[in-house]
Amino acid sequence: MNATMTKQVKKATLATVTANHKVSHNTYRLCVESEKDLIESQPGQFVSILCNKLVVRRPFSVAFAQGNYFEIIYKVRGEGTKYIENLKKGAQINFIGPLGSAFCIENKKSLLIGGGVGIGPMMFLAQRFKGQNIPYTFLAGFHSNINTGLAGIPEAVLITDDGTSGKKGSIVDYIKEYIEKDKVEKIYTCGPEPVMKKASVIAEEMDICIEVAIERFFACSVGVCMGCSIDTKDVENPETLIKKRICKHGPVFDGRTIIWE
């Protein structure tokens, strides 16, 4: 390495799996110990995991991180996540990260809305809020029955589509109710895009700040391939279209700036 280099050089890091278990239908929690500390990892950021021989790494929001230990919550969708599902305790993974932007934690009455695997970064955020005594309500939505103990979800209002755990219905049906009940000043959300879109619309209507963490498929994770490019607008000047890359400018954005598909 050149001695004149000033920037810290990031490398792919190895981590050892300490646990990998199912928490709900098709949803899993992977816990690993990395060779290096993820000390700077903040809620909203992600890690990109090399999945066997796949050419493209898979990005996952960090669900918890402390020292060299971190967790992700994932759903088995394709070859990459199938590979992760099959990792046994003691197996090694190769990852880069933490990458991307983090939620801007403010001392405001907060509503955390996590849908499906989107609960990951919300869990991490809830931990931080607890540590800083920031009041919050955590809505966690799933299709079906969830084992909150195994998932490591701190006290949350559970909502399932089929009513098998907690309240029945869609998480979006409860957003307004909790904003009013808990006098919410800021919303943080991660989950399916229709949920984040709906939350953003409500936030705009009720004039509340909202931050969304968008999870999509990337190719590079470092801001060069333009594979994750999305359309955003300036809140002050909504006519101007601004191209942003989820992996570089995000994944956390002001929800009101996103032009949802």
Partner: protein
């Protein structure tokens, strides 16, 4: 490398003198800034910028990328800021770095290519790579790379407008590679880079209401899957041209670099592998040096029994 060895990895591409033959491919390395956290960019032979057009382009709607076995299909559609903002915002940053860079230009008409070339000439850009084979834009690019007459006229006109090192990037999606390669050289190009991504499609099927419903993504395939196609293309055109060939297509390991050099490439570009292993380009530079040392050679030419 700890001990100083008297090894020479340098290679000349036209007027460009590169310190080594490892170049990062267009669209996979941004404008080098993005990779500085991963790679000492000044260790590389050169970087090729993302394809730049005359006017800004928004690119294609999502989805834009899809991985397949040993490869990646992309249909980005040349999203970029356009040449003028590039010159204003990115060129000074690139020039401040201790690197050789090649500007990848893409036009949607002959006039646009010539205009882009003139702008590069005026700005004293040392090297340009003409993207004649982007499979993801409706007009231009791929078509220019396929038709011999249009190709010859186009390159000749760009040559006239631009005195720096002119590299022409070719597609393997042609019937007569040798004919195309000869024309590129005849028209005055200083080097050929090959191959661009290969036109490909991914299909995913869903069984719904007793029928298969398909969702498709069509674009350019890159990655290890196209390496054999690239090696074959380069070995086919090598005998018919004297200008340098910059080989690319799925290069991931040092063995791949050596294979491309062995079939006649003078330098190589690293593309998709930058996504899989962000530090790979610098590792390959080191790896090439180590191979020379291990085999007691002082330069690359000694390693291959090659005429060109």
């Amino acid at each position: 490398m700890g001990v100083k060895h008297n090894i020479d990895l340098s290679v000349n591409i036209g007027k460009l003198k590169l310190k080594n033959p490892i170049i990062t491919a267009s669209g996979t390395f941004g404008y080098a800034d993005e990779f500085e956290e991963y790679v000492n960019v000044s260790s590389l032979g050169a970087i090729v910028t993302k394809g730049i057009t005359l006017h800004p382009r928004k690119g294609n709607p999502q989805p834009r990328v899809q991985d397949v076995n040993n490869g990646l299909i992309n249909r980005i559609g040349l999203e970029n800021m356009g040449i003028y903002p590039f010159i204003e915002q990115k060129l000074p940053i690139l020039r401040a770095k201790n690197i050789s860079f090649i500007i990848n230009i893409a036009g949607s008409s002959e006039e646009e290519y010539v205009q882009l070339a003139k702008i590069c000439q005026n700005k004293s850009i040392e090297a340009i790579e003409m993207n004649l084979s982007c499979p993801n834009v409706k007009h231009g690019c791929l078509e220019f790379g396929k038709d011999p007459d249009t190709l010859y006229r186009l390159i000749s006109n760009v040559r006239e407008a631009y005195q720096g090192t002119l590299i022409v990037k070719l597609t393997s999606n042609v019937s007569y590679p040798t004919q195309i390669a000869k024309l590129v050289q005849k028209a005055g190009a200083n080097a050929i880079s090959a191959i661009n991504t290969v036109k490909a499609m991914h299909v995913s099927l869903n069984y719904n209401n007793s029928k298969f419903e398909k969702t498709t993504i069509q674009g350019g395939l890159s990655g290890p899957a196209i390496k054999p196609i690239a090696l074959s293309f380069i070995s086919e055109i090598r005998p018919v041209v004297d200008i340098p060939i910059i080989g690319m297509g799925g290069i991931t390991y040092i063995q791949d670099v050596l294979e491309f050099l062995s079939v006649g490439a003078n330098a190589v570009q690293i593309g998709t592998a930058n996504f899989t292993h962000p530090t790979i380009s610098e590792q390959l530079v080191d790896g090439l040096g180590e191979i020379l040392i291990k085999n007691n050679k002082t330069n690359l030419k000694e390693c291959f029994n090659r005429r060109k």
